[in-house]
Symmetry: C2
Subunit: 450 residues, 2 copies
Amino acid sequence: MAATGPRPYELIRRKRDGLELSAAEIAVLVDGFVSGAVPDYQMSAFLMAVFFRGMSAAEIATLTRAMRDSGETLDLSSFGGRTADKHSTGGVGDKVSLVLAPLAAAAGLVVPMMSGRGLGHTGGTIDKLESIPGFDTALSTDAFLRQLDQIGVAMVAQSDRLAPADRRMYALRDVTATVESIPLIAASIMSKKLAEGCDNLVLDVKFGRGAFMQKMVDAEALARTMTAIGNANGVRTRALLSSMEQPLGLALGNAVEVEETIACLRGAGPADLRELTLRLGAEMMLLAGVEASREAATARLARLLDDGSALERFRGMVVAQGGDPAYVDDPQRFYRPAVTLPVVSRARGVVAGIDTLEVGLTIVALGGGRARLYEPIRHEVGVLLNRKVGDEVDAGDVLAQVLAATSAAAGEAVQRLQAAIVISGALDAAGRGGQPPAATPFILDLPQRT
Amino acid sequence: MAATGPRPYELIRRKRDGLELSAAEIAVLVDGFVSGAVPDYQMSAFLMAVFFRGMSAAEIATLTRAMRDSGETLDLSSFGGRTADKHSTGGVGDKVSLVLAPLAAAAGLVVPMMSGRGLGHTGGTIDKLESIPGFDTALSTDAFLRQLDQIGVAMVAQSDRLAPADRRMYALRDVTATVESIPLIAASIMSKKLAEGCDNLVLDVKFGRGAFMQKMVDAEALARTMTAIGNANGVRTRALLSSMEQPLGLALGNAVEVEETIACLRGAGPADLRELTLRLGAEMMLLAGVEASREAATARLARLLDDGSALERFRGMVVAQGGDPAYVDDPQRFYRPAVTLPVVSRARGVVAGIDTLEVGLTIVALGGGRARLYEPIRHEVGVLLNRKVGDEVDAGDVLAQVLAATSAAAGEAVQRLQAAIVISGALDAAGRGGQPPAATPFILDLPQRT
């Protein structure tokens, strides 16, 4: 029964037994997996051992580098250190990238943003952008670099040529119950971000019911792990934590989120969306060294939203990438959902909570998201919230509007949302009483380690 | 990042999270793996999760049954409950099966023994038997049953048709560092034993430096797990623990072990070999209900060794399976190693320890064992010990003889054995002093749980 085998066997065994692997050993596994020398069944056993044993900071950094080096990497050095990107771990109603990328460009940064599509209950920036008629999210590298040089911002889909090891490892993790591992999640995200060649990176790590990491402690661990990977590999990286205890903004879906984006770029839109955008943008400017204080950076970004500069940059990007600029001026003209149904409150009280995961899954069921990669989506469907956590409501008030393709889908979504939006306590005639919602912070700096 | 996938994904995840799987769920995995519906990479992730999470007694019993039911099972019910087998977890110099099978048959039991080949540092009963010229270890099922009916004992190689799920799972475990898991080891061994259809089974679970389970606590856990599987599946099962802190007997190799077997069957041979054989045999008789007390069973077995009855049964088996009976009468005539070299003690003292693992690996290096399945072996090579733990030695005494195919191999083996046999302390002129060897028990009943 003596165990014999080639080198990968030893590396699995060492990880299984809690020993640390060297950079060369991790490269054997990743390179071997990509070349076929390390078969799927060895990689999946290794990944499960990582699930249980974790990885040291050094192991994670070298794993991420090995994954980055499995494919193309971009050289953005000609932009002199001014490139900055933002990555969010995903949520419901999170259209921050759409506002932030042109805003940061308007503030003098170069924003080479590569994003993913929606999967599961979380929406995807690329899906949202593609609701702008004609908008091309698959630029060639040359066109991408030229646009960055000309208008300082381009938003494209993450190329399959970046970090192919990550794509293969993710596909394996997805069928072997090894997704939920902070080292592996961090390496997966950061391998692509490192390949993009950006100088500065701000991470928006979500926590709460609608986030991939529901517990704040896990979100914090993921934020610290990704920040360490970036800084260990020459990318100035900072992270904020932000809440997904309720959706971000009021518009949830694809076309409606672009519409809300445009409102925000006009200096209007929901307060939470504006606040998170400004916080993340200020961090980008501080990292890139183009402003000295958070206050100055925030004030400048707010001005650029209010004076139309950011909107102009957005319009420039839409035109450069083949999109219809009329959409920017009057987005409501373009999509008209077949059915609109209200979600009506059955009680008087206070909105105590919104089950954000359930809201996200309801949008998937409406056709606005996808349960599996490469499924088509509908741009026109979604949910418009009228109330958010802490708002008072009366029986009969409209809590939300469902935008659907069919009456059946709309009816089902209304039922799900009625359960997902929790009205707590009764108000007396003077509007007093009701159960106050649990106080959860909206945005947090990464807490200092004690 | 929502994880989606077919049913096996859920089962991996549940095991990963420490939940218990039902019998039906375990059957999905095992049957699916054999049919190809569950790919290698999912099974290896599952096995690694089992490595970390373990399995409940119910899970192990159903896993073993599912593996048993993946292939043929033998029906031995015509023997009326008198069938009995012995399984050892493997060691160095362990030729007990060769003595015990004919001995138990001489005592009235029916012994349908199916054994494996040697792998790694442990020898295999089938390899040893095949050093008898002409001996056929691959009987048809009909021939096997007929021989059991006629002489009460047959010793054959475990058929590939028994528990094929185990063979495939073991091959995967061997390359994914998931061998060292007590539930998986127990299920692997017992799936084949259950398929053999025996009524009574005694387990000899080895502990110590030369055993697969080096720590006694692990050996005990394995013994309890296997005993529970057997008893939960209709096989009366008991286990003893026995030491592999030093080799069993004095002859180590293939032909020389058969020679020592024949000596033991003549009522001679090393005391430890005889003692362990009698202990295991007595348990078999008690389990099968053919003797009422351990003392009576032991006495009867000792008589059958001393009066030649067991040897006669062995000879009958050799003849029935095509072997040369002249080998039984004068085994030394058949093999003559090309080179014989002594291992000479460099010091005066006491044998404090024998690195049994290293001795086993030295025999593999001589060609007497194999590092990988299906490699050919040499029958004539091996090691003859002159001293065992606790024996006094003088400088210049011969500690062991190496039997080798070449001078180079012999020289290397002598060097390895010189290091493996530890002489401790110096004796004074009167032969006093020296470091006494650590007291380790030789045979232990499975301790009662407190």
